[in-house]
């Protein structure tokens, strides 16, 4: 297609950062908008995760990239090529299905060779590439088996070999771990990650499991209700969530509602706290501006003495606690009735003069840098 005839805005400059590009992609199913003006840039060789709860549109987005559904608006580019109108069998894209979708009537070998056969690859080369792909996932000795003779983990590796053997520019993974037992899931996450890293393929992974996204992905996009709420590395999204949904979806957090104080651009007054919250950066907002302020449970320190600092502390009674191994989770009831979750590491508990117990009155404090202001 000629650049000038493109109806939408022209594709951005082709750099490693824009290897896969989605521009204002929309997909509707009747009245429901499954994907709502999503734009994304994915770097070459990046492992990118689409994270969200069920029904958020992440799987639809994946199907749009594979060509299994076509968008109502927007463009999709892979390596500079506009693939929006291409059928799946013409796209340089491969996909590993949630069910793995191995052909039950074909041997492992024939499953892997399927894509190469469609391209009429020469017999010799085909045999070599199939063998190499099976070796990559350590399934060489199962080449003659039928899929139903394999365990879930083995089926997954065959599916991976099958999607990699054609050397796609983009590999889509739809909930790759959901059909596996919890036990082998974590192990598989690292294993799969290593294989994909070694192959050096650009991957987009769909998952509802934040741990999976954080383990496997270089960057992730958090989706809700057909929109992308935040894109960033797992660290960025965890440490500086952009909104309440992001803060609550990834990890757990304590949220305060506050209003900006009159004489300060950094201090918020919260109805549940006796002292103000002091945020790390000056707010460019008027007095009385309301915001949600998040503090992660592991960012809170606990002590038996009143902290020296003027802001960012409170006191309460320990109502519940749970020993979690590497840390202890305390629920502390404030005088205002508000319940706070506090994670104290093993080291943190040892540093106290005695282990906190039920009904102990404790002081909780945190640094300004631990606070994240969430608009809305």
């Amino acid at each position: 297609m000629n650049e000038a005839t493109r109806p939408q805005r022209p594709p951005l400059a082709q750099t490693a950062a824009d290897f896969v590009q989605l521009v204002d992609v929309v997909k509707r199913y009747g009245e429901a908008v499954a994907v709502n003006r999503v734009s994304l840039s994915i770097r070459k060789n990046e492992m990118f995760a689409l994270l969200g709860s069920s029904g958020c549109g992440k799987s639809t987005l994946l199907r749009l990239m594979a060509g299994l559904a076509s968008p109502d608006a927007g463009r999709i580019f892979v390596d500079g090529e506009d693939v929006t109108a291409l059928p799946p069998y013409r796209r340089p894209v491969s996909m590993m299905f949630q069910s793995y979708a191995l052909f039950p009537h074909m041997s492992v070998e024939n499953n892997v060779a399927y894509g190469l056969r469609r391209d009429s690859v020469a017999k010799n080369e085909m045999r070599q590439r199939v063998a190499a792909a099976l070796d990559l996932v350590q399934m060489g000795k199962y080449a003659q088996r039928k899929p139903h003779q394999l365990s879930g983990g083995q089926q997954q590796r065959v599916a991976l070999a099958r999607s990699l053997v054609k050397r796609p520019k983009l590999l889509l993974l739809d909930e790759p771990m959901s059909a596996l037992d919890k036990k082998i899931r974590q192990e598989t996450q690292f294993e799969l990650g290593n294989i994909l890293y070694d192959v050096g393929v650009t991957c987009i992974l769909v998952t509802h499991d934040q741990e999976e996204a954080m383990t496997m992905a270089d960057r992730l996009a958090l989706m809700d209700d057909g929109r992308i709420l935040q894109v960033g590395t797992p660290g960025e999204v965890y440490e500086s969530p952009s909104c309440r949904f992001a803060a609550e979806f990834i990890g757990s957090t304590n949220l305060f509602t506050g209003e900006l104080e009159a004489d300060s651009s950094r201090r918020f007054r919260c109805p549940h706290l006796e002292v103000p919250l002091e945020v790390p950066h000056a707010m460019n907002a008027r007095r009385g501006h309301a915001a949600q302020i998040s503090v992660r449970p592991e960012r809170i320190a606990m002590g038996f003495r009143k902290p020296e600092q003027e802001c960012n502390w409170t006191a309460g009674k320990i109502e519940q606690y749970a020993y979690m191994g590497s840390y202890t989770l305390y629920y502390v009831r404030l005088a205002s009735g508000r319940l706070l979750a506090v994670d104290i590491s093993r080291m943190g508990v040892h540093a106290l003069e005695r282990a906190p117990d039920y009904c102990d009155t404790v002081y909780l404090s945190w640094g300004a840098e631990s606070l994240v202001v969430l608009e809305k």
Partner: protein
């Protein structure tokens, strides 16, 4: 074994036992009776055949005649009728498959809201008596019938087609009648098929027709065989449709058996013809069973794996 297991066991025996007992009494016993008659000789009287075994003067006389079987497999009338029946049944099965498979495929792939309606349309003929439907075809097909009348009125043809009392009428009637028997089991098979397999083929570079030939068709083989047998077996012995719509020269085995029993009153030969037909029909069933047995080790054929519910 616990009491509950015991109760379940006996319940299971009962549920499975009832249809088997029914088949034993109303299929196996009559068939054995027919088989016995096929070894007797005809005579005038009631019943119109000689007993196979009789007690006379303190001796048991057993007389089993196999001449009727010899007659059945050598007489060109019977051989011809068998060949013709199998030919008509095969043609019916093939035509039903050619019409029914694409239809089932499309129904299975259509919107779930439409599916039941389309399926209902397939089953609709069953709401009217079989005989009435075949008679209705006479009204449609005869020389002054609706089809010829319509085509003449359109001036598409100038002379009426002969659609009735020949092979046209026979095949139209057969395909019409047997199509639902092919479509219902085939649909049930196709609708269970995991669509992600076809999508996977597509993502791996298969054009739609390639995906169909390499994935959909091989995976529907068992459904095709089962539903074809369901058409072929009763079609071989079909009596009413060739009688009402077929030509006088279309002598199918059902007619031959009828004539043997009720016109010639040669029960033993007719019984031998019947027994031989059961053998002819057993062959395709045995073949199907063998295929089933070989593939019985395919538990996941179309079964979806756990955790595959569409996530979003």
């Amino acid at each position: 074994m616990s009491k509950a297991a015991l109760r379940m066991f006996s319940g299971r025996t009962f549920v499975i036992g009832v249809p088997y007992a029914f088949l034993l009494v109303f299929f196996m016993v009559p068939f054995l009776a027919v088989l016995a008659i096929s070894f007797a000789d005809p005579r005038m009287g009631v019943p119109p055949y000689t007993p196979i075994a009789q007690w006379q003067d303190g001796a048991l006389h057993l007389s089993m005649s196999i001449q009727h079987f010899v007659a059945v497999i050598t007489d060109p009338l019977y051989v011809g009728a068998y060949a013709y029946s199998v030919e008509i049944a095969l043609a019916t099965t093939l035509l039903c498959l050619l019409i029914g498979y694409p239809a089932c495929y499309l129904i299975a792939r259509s919107d779930p809201a439409w599916r039941n309606l389309l399926l209902m349309a397939v089953m609709l003929p069953f709401w009217t008596s079989y005989l009435i439907r075949v008679y209705a075809w006479i009204g449609l097909l005869k020389t002054q019938g609706l089809i010829n009348g319509f085509l003449l009125w359109l001036h598409v043809i100038h002379e009426p087609f002969k659609l009735y009392h020949n092979n046209w009428g026979l095949m139209i009637g057969m395909v019409y009648n047997y199509l639902p028997y092919l479509m219902l089991p085939l649909y049930a098979h196709l609708v269970k098929m995991d669509m992600s397999l076809v999508e996977a083929a597509s993502v791996l570079g298969a054009k739609p027709w390639q995906a169909f030939l390499t994935v959909t068709l091989p995976l529907s083989r068992r459904g095709i065989i089962a539903s074809c047998l369901l058409v072929f077996i009763p079609a071989v012995g079909e009596y009413v449709i060739p009688e009402l719509l077929g030509g006088s020269n279309s002598l199918m085995i059902g007619r031959v058996m009828w004539d043997g029993f009720f016109v010639n009153t040669d029960w033993p030969t007719a019984a031998a013809a019947t027994a031989a037909m059961v053998v002819i029909l057993l062959l395709p069933i045995a073949w199907f069973q063998r295929i089933q047995q070989r593939e019985v080790a395919l538990p996941h054929d179309f079964a979806r794996l756990p955790g595959q519910e569409a996530a979003s």
